[in-house]
Amino acid sequence: MAGDADEGLRGILIEQVDRLLSDAAGPAVLRAAERGEWPEALWAEAEALGLPLALAPEAMGGAGLGWEDAVAVWQVLGRHGAPLPLAHGMAAAALLGLADIEPPAGFIALALPNEPVAWGRRAGHVAAVDGAGQVALHDGAGVEWRRSEGAISREPADRAASFGAPLRTGRLPGAEAARNAGALLHAALIAGALEAALDMAVDYANTRKQFGRPIGAFQAVQQQLAVCASEAAAAAVAAAAAGRAADRRGLDDAGFEIGSAKVVAGEAAGTGAAIAHQVFAAIGFTDDHPLHLFTRRMWSWRDACGAERVWARRIGEAALARGGDALWPDLTARNEGRGNA
């Protein structure tokens, strides 16, 4: 079971990541990343803070942080539009650790079945997971990449035509662990990005004037932004709860909470992005305006590692199989240490 940092340590970590991204990220870096420019300086800073390996066990050179800590970091990352593939690298290192493979330094790309690999072309190493929970660590130089185009987010991604021979192989504690990690990280990124879009929309509503007053003074606008805030809060709580469940029961057994987080964050992304665009109206529809740097990412992230319908169906199938009498007892047992998936 992964450990989790105490509240104080988590707070310090979040502050460090937030400061780093506030200083060195921003729309220009996001746009550059979309053109395929690797954020070298940011990555170097992240490495200096020990972030890429933070989820790996201390014995393997990591900091032994837990999934709830990771969610907190990823949410901050999402708030800045995730200009670097730090969430993927952290998850890859964690999964390698779980499979008893010491994660190497540098950027480790995460290759999940049928998913495009974020920044595969820049990976020093690749952690490739199959559908059965088998993990292989590859040297990035030996992987033959094909560009994966067409994502709404325009984040650089690749697909491996061939991986070559692995450096090491190992086995995850369950077949679902890797997919769950992927869903968790995207739910957390969405929670952060939606918070950013909300903040931008509130600022704009307070400054843009029509009919002689800020548009945020109109109840119609207030009511919509309240819904956006509510969705952002739900996404954040769902992601945090999923991280905590993964810490307590292991990634493989946190499918309900992680799936719930992906469903709620995915729905929140759709609703929240629509409201933010409505508030910004035409200016938010332009390439110049940074809003789409966040909303396009949310639209991609909600599809990554299983869209809402995929996870909802899994949750629903499990509940239907268990039956009506078990519905409430199962829901309450999950965080009382007697859970079943």
């Binding site: 309240a226 945090a240 719930s260 949750i315 239907l320």
Partner: protein, 379 residues
């Protein structure tokens, strides 16, 4: 998000044992509850049941033992509440007293009031109503006009309250009344005071109002020279607005703001096995239910620490109301009317009607979203 906090909270270590006790009790007590009883749950009224709940120590669980309270934690109380709601138990006869009238009396009441009222609430013997809305004062509550005038030894009340749930069955109401009128409408929040009013006092007439489902749920109360002694003023004269709005945090913070229609999902689930669209729809509902539960627990945790999470409570109530209103509609999409058992059909029909009240009572959707918007910094 500026200022809104939802820290994850665990249910207490006592929870599994407490749940087992409650589930056994509720299975037995609920054997004959009709679909309508379950659909009304915390809006329903069953004195006998409330007395049984009181006997088991599940009312006033967090209150001082000196007044009969259980001195248990707010999170243990939360477990009891959610088990009651998940079972669709008819808890209305003690719900208001346990949720807000009791806490108000303990916080601001006189020693005499505490001794007089608290032990009887704990026993499930004293049912409370909330006397806030008036014919011309709904969302704009501070515009209320029912007044209490000073007379020797107490106060004389004249005016009307309306939409007061179960007042015709209750013993007391906490009424928010105007004790001094200000000529300036901008000062309408001042000069209000809270009183404990005996629902059977002379001069009170209570007229039940049928709701859209045909139940006598709420009422119109007319006060015609009703005398209330000084000893039944609650808290400070003139501080009624601040007191009542603090009470609203309790009123809005509980799990009844997202769980009201859950018994329908439990009852209908097994009839959805052959419906191809069911897994996705049920999964979406459960994802929301689990998340709302975490948010609701976060608010309960803040209450336990003595923080008044008024804005967080408003947000959870609004999101919870959306969920509990959507649930019957989603199930209606899925249930085949021909093959659905009558009991499930009935509950669906009742929930479809009753659900409209969720986003009206305890603060409308529009008022709650206005509170959230102000928290966001919109003016």
């Amino acid at each position: 998000m500026p200022g809104l906090r939802f820290d994850l909270r665990d249910t207490p270590p006592e929870a599994p044992a407490l749940r087992a006790e409650l589930r056994a009790f509720l299975a037995e007590a609920g054997r004959d509850w009709s679909p309508r009883v379950r659909a009304y749950s915390w809006m329903g009224f069953d004195r006998e049941f409330s007395r049984e709940v009181g006997k088991r120590g599940w009312i006033g669980m967090t209150w001082p033992a000196a007044y009969g309270g259980g001195e248990r934690t707010a999170m243990e109380r939360y477990v009891v509440l959610e088990e009651m709601l998940a079972a669709g138990a008819p808890v209305g006869a003690h719900w208001i007293g346990d949720r807000q009238s009791g806490p108000l009396i303990l916080r601001l009441g006189t020693e005499e009031q505490r001794r007089e009222f608290i032990p009887r609430i704990v026993a499930g013997e004293l049912a409370f109503a909330i006397g806030l809305s008036e014919p011309d004062s709904g969302s704009d509550l501070a515009s209320l006009r029912t007044k209490a005038e000073r007379v020797p030894g107490g106060w004389r009340i004249n005016g009307r309250k309306v939409w007061t749930t179960n007042a015709h069955r209750c013993d007391f109401m906490i009424a928010l009344l105007r004790t001094s009128s200000s000529p300036d409408p901008k000062q309408k929040h001042q000069g209000l005071s809270q009183f404990l009013v005996d629902c059977r006092a002379s001069g009170i007439s209570i007229r039940p109002i049928l709701d859209l489902a045909g139940e006598e749920g709420f009422n119109e109360i007319t006060f015609d020279d009703v005398f209330v002694p000084d000893s039944l003023l609650v808290g400070k004269e003139g501080a009624g607005w601040e007191q009542a709005t603090a009470e609203l945090a309790f009123e809005r913070a509980g799990p009844e703001r997202y769980l009201s229609s859950l018994p329908l999902l439990t009852a209908a689930l097994d009839d959805l096995r052959d419906e191809p669209a069911a897994p996705e729809a049920v999964g979406r509902l459960l994802a929301r239910a689990g998340t709302l539960r975490q948010m609701s627990l976060a608010v309960a945790g803040m209450l336990q620490e003595g923080i008044t999470p008024a804005r967080e409570a408003a947000l959870v109530k609004d999101a919870g109301n959306d969920f509990e209103q959507a649930l019957p509609e989603r199930l209606r999409d899925l249930l085949d009317p021909i093959r659905t058992p009558p009991a499930v059909q009935e509950m669906l029909a009742d929930m479809t009607m009753v659900a409209r009240s969720y986003s009206l009572r305890g603060g409308t959707r529009e008022i709650l979203r206005g509170i959230i918007a102000r928290q966001l910094g919109l003016r």
